[in-house]
């Protein structure tokens, strides 16, 4: 991974994750963040490992997979620009529930979960806004998972079919 700091604030402000966050909140977040450019097929984290860093995808794509005995790694989601990956580091003990691998060269913002939690203790308003945003993202992820489970395209029909 190559850590860079080219206008981190702008990169964060332009991400879908940060939509609606105030400038002061963005500046606070930047104190815990770094800009990373990652080559294709790089593992960001491994299922079961403990990690501190949460990633916002700025460009490129990240494959999320789980190991299933007999099937190796099964990809269940491709995260793209604006998506959050590795959120366990932000809201739980940091044990990763999936393996994340870049599909192509990917630009990310890495944010230390521990430092964000400290920031949230100091700035409860930031904590509220940030956790609300994370909850919205997880809610969308849950809905998407439900739609996958419904297996909508199995024997589906389109119009007048």
């Amino acid at each position: 991974m190559i850590a860079e700091q080219p206008n981190l604030l702008k990169l964060l402000a332009d991400s879908r994750f940060a939509e609606g966050l105030s400038n002061s909140h963005l500046q606070s977040l930047c104190r815990a963040a770094r800009h990373i450019r990652v080559p294709s097929e790089t593992k960001l984290f491994q299922e079961g490992s403990f990690e501190d860093e949460v990633f916002i995808v700025c460009s490129g794509h990240v494959r999320l997979s789980m190991n299933v005995p007999g099937q190796d790694d099964v990809t269940f989601l491709t995260a793209g620009p604006g998506d959050l990956v590795g959120w366990s580091g932000l809201i739980s003990d940091g044990r990763m529930t999936a393996t994340a691998t870049t599909v192509e060269e990917t630009v990310l913002i890495g944010i230390s979960g521990r430092r964000v939690q400290q920031l949230c203790e100091i700035e409860p308003e930031l904590g509220y806004v940030l956790m609300r945003r994370v909850a919205q993202i997880l809610s969308r992820r849950l809905l998407a998972t439900r739609l996958q489970l419904l297996d909508l395209f199995h024997q589906n029909t389109g119009a007048a079919q």
Binding site: F76, L152, G158
Partner: protein
């Protein structure tokens, strides 16, 4: 535009011959139909999104969207999944067999309204078939439109419909993104529901963007909610609905949905016209 339905007798089925059968997926094939009567063939035309009633003697009729190029004269493709007695009977017919056809019927995708605007098409599963004529029509006059984005969702890589055409559409100026619910080894594109692709696609002018969607109703519902949350107005969103269409001219009532008849007023509806009845249980 000439309409092939005899205005005095919409019940009259014309004879068409199955010129070619292309097996698209297990249980799904495209049937290229041609009129035996050369004059009828010359005069037949349809608009993207319309459907025909296909008739198999002894089995009955079924409504099938036209999946071919509206500007291609002489051949009328229909992509059909084996689902009921008529479509299963059709699947047993060889090339050169004759069947009956009434149509075209119903409303069309609003291609004319797309001029100068960005357009997003969201297709799920076999729902790509009714959208394909709109894709052809948009690409046949590519310069008239802004960005053209096609988002395709399928169950798995082997269930993608018309995959050989995606690169042709890309080359013609359309952004095509595909996603599958279940990936296998070697799949390098997106995994996840098609609504997630819509969340990510960059929209420069959402209020001026027009969206068309076709697929399972649950998928269309969440596509619409995603589109509205991205700023696409409800009156710029179009859906293609399916119900039990029998007469195709709004008389029998089998396909009635609230105050609308899908065969006559649809199958393509502007979302704000059907929003209040889309999520009514058992309607």
């Amino acid at each position: 535009m000439t309409v092939a339905v005899d205005p005095h007798n919409p019940w009259l089925a014309r004879t068409v011959r199955i010129r070619r059968i292309v097996q698209e997926l297990p249980g799904v094939a495209t049937y290229d139909l041609c009129f035996d009567d050369a004059e009828i063939a010359r005069n037949y035309s349809f608009r993207p999104g319309q459907f025909n009633m296909l008739y198999l003697p002894g089995l009955g009729e079924t409504a099938i969207s036209i999946s071919g190029h509206p500007r291609r004269v002489g051949v009328i493709p229909h992509t059909i999944r084996e689902a009921g007695s008529v479509t299963t009977g059709l699947a047993g017919l060889p090339e050169n067999s004759c069947i009956g056809l009434r149509g075209p019927f119903g409303s069309a995708w609003p291609v004319e309204q797309c001029a100068g605007r960005d357009v997003v098409l969201v297709a799920g599963g076999i729902g790509l078939a009714p959208l394909r004529p709109a894709i052809y029509e948009l690409l046949s006059q590519r310069d008239r439109y802004g960005k053209l984005i096609l988002l395709i969702g399928a169950r798995e890589p082997s269930a993608m419909l018309y995959p050989a055409e995606y690169n042709e559409w890309r080359d013609a100026g359309m952004q095509v993104e595909v996603t599958v619910d279940r990936a296998l080894d070697g799949w390098n594109s997106h995994v996840g529901v098609v609504t997630a692709l819509l969340d990510r696609v960059p929209l420069e002018n959402p209020s001026g963007t027009l969206l068309m969607t076709c697929g399972p109703e649950v998928m269309m519902w969440y596509t619409i909610q995603g589109a509205i949350s991205r700023g696409i107005p409800a009156d710029s969103i179009y859906v293609s609905l399916e119900r039990n269409m029998n007469c195709a001219i709004g008389l029998c009532g089998h396909c009635q949905l609230g105050h609308e008849f899908i065969c006559r007023d649809g199958p393509v509806f502007r979302y704000d016209r059907v929003a209040s009845i889309l999520k009514v249980d058992n309607l």
